[in-house]
Amino acid sequence: MGAAQASIIGAEERKANRAVAVEGRSVIFKIKRCDGPGKPWRWESFKVPTEPGSNVISSLRHIAANPVTVDGKETTPVVWDSGCLEEVCGACTMVINGRVRQSCSCLIDEYAPREGDEIVLEPMSKFPVIRDLWVDRTRMFNALERVKAWVPIDGTYNLGAGPQEDHDHQQMRYALSECMTCGCCLEACPQFIKKEHEDQWESSFIGPQAISQARLFNEHGTGKRLKDERMDTLTGPGGIQDCGNAQNCVKVCPKGIPLTESIAAIGRSATIHSIKKFFTGK
């Protein structure tokens, strides 16, 4: 389940491209570049020879070794972020041909099968750019803190054995646990708006990633002890109510996480939480 689902649209087309990819061709990378926070951005294009199985990261490595644009102008190497190179860390997420996805798993054959075909790379637009294709995803980790996405086990006494878990429930939670904080869902969400400064994060839409993680820990036998606090955050400013049900998030999530189900489940918890709070809360 999960990762096996091709959640990014256009899978058919990509498969067809792979079948007709020309060997030994060169493709053009058009890259949106920026030298640092607050600096202006510009486009630069690079010609990169392909090898069988080459992907966006391997092509970026080629550019880093030969930072010369198609017009023969010497430039600085293009900067990007990456970690695992196998689509499990989320660090290499960027916008490729207008759609967000991981670049390490993005095969050139699928996107540019013919000589001279162009691939456009842009940094994610919802996060502050550090440099070129490298963005700062701190807001996502801050969101995880805000919804207390953990199981409270620290204490002064032995908590005893963990809770029992049945198979189906475990399967449901497993799917949610696959989130790699990559940011695809936030990039595609029309309700999630870029905020450069940390003090704006609290009042802006928290986004589907944290909502789904809150559900993961609300569903945990011990983690649910923090459910009320999570629901306070999620019914506060920038909470679940800001979702506009565009359902883009679920379609771009590379892990096939059922984000819209999480949103509805948290919506249900929010309904119950707010009614309970109205009658019994402070």
Binding site: P190, I193, G267
Partner: protein, 289 residues
């Protein structure tokens, strides 16, 4: 930060849920009732026939007869009508002002993410903008009597419900004019978009409130909402088609006979006569067809 803003922020959740609720109750419920009544212009004859009261009437005349009867009933027999109307207008104002404010906060990205759901999201906002413009025109001209906005200045009156509606849509009491085509097209777009807005809102409300959680449940509820949408769409088109095919003079004759036969006490009718004196006089001055 102004106190106004922090009030909105502190109660963001509640206000958004109220926004969701008002879309269904009272607005959605009213929409259903309104379209059922108005579409009787299209199906009224069949209802009359069922009761054996359609003899000698064409389908259009039967529709007018039924519709005019309904409208007279609603306008004369429903208690606290004004209170109901004001509540409805307040709900619509609340829903649309907030909706506008929320929609402004989003960043549509349909060109990049061409999914059906993203299209729905975008259309929900566009239909909201268009819909409120239409509702305003519709209510202002046909309810508040801003007849200067109607081509040839027809004033709607519940005594002459079908005929004056037809004149407003067709552009004149003598039949179609170019402006009438424009107004009718505006109506067609307005009602169609609003029906979509309601059906889609009904679907997303179930997610918002957490009624439909699983993907399958969302899909099942989607079929229900689609059926509601198709039904209301047919009702709204039926109402429009009915109003567009009404013959002004024929309708006036039927409406005059209803006023004569209606069980409204004479004094009460007089009060209305004074209110809508203009329309009534015009009708009286009319040679009887």
């Amino acid at each position: 930060m102004s106190t106004h803003q922090s009030f909105m922020q502190r109660h963001q959740f509640l206000i958004r849920r109220l926004h969701s609720l008002t879309g269904i109750l009272p607005i959605g419920v009213f929409l259903i009732a309104h379209l059922v009544t108005n579409s009787s212009l299209a199906w009224g004859w069949f209802a009359l026939k069922g009761r054996g009261g359609a003899e000698g009437l064409s389908v259009s005349e039967g529709g007018v007869q039924y519709f005019a009867h309904e409208v007279t009933y609603l306008n004369t027999q429903v208690p606290h009508l004004f209170l109901i109307e004001v509540t409805l207008w307040a709900a619509i104002a609340f829903h649309s002002i907030l909706g506008f404010y929320y929609a402004m906060g989003g960043q549509g990205n349909l060109p990049h993410y061409k999914h059906q759901d993203n299209f729905r999201y975008t259309l929900q906002r566009l239909s909201g903008y268009f819909g409120i413009a239409f509702i305003f025109y519709h209510v202002a001209t046909l309810r508040w009597g801003w007849s200067f906005l109607v081509p040839n200045g027809t004033e709607w009156s519940h005594h002459w419900s079908a005929s004056t509606l037809a004149a407003a849509l067709q552009g004149s009491s003598e039949g179609w004019t170019a402006m009438g085509v424009v107004v009718s097209l505006f109506y067609f777009l307005g009602v169609s978009l609003l029906v979509f807005h309601f059906a889609n809102g009904l679907w997303t409300a179930a997610i918002t409130w957490g009624l439909t959680v699983s993907e399958h449940a969302q899909k099942r509820w989607g079929y229900v909402c689609a059926a509601v949408g198709v039904g209301l769409m047919l009702a709204s088109w039926g109402a429009l088609a009915g109003a567009m095919t009404v013959d002004y003079d024929e309708a006036q004759a039927i409406e005059a006979s209803i006023q004569g036969s209606h069980e409204v006490p004479a004094e009460q009718l007089d009060v209305h006569t004074q209110n809508d004196g203009h329309t009534l006089q015009t009708a009286e001055a009319d040679p009887e067809g």
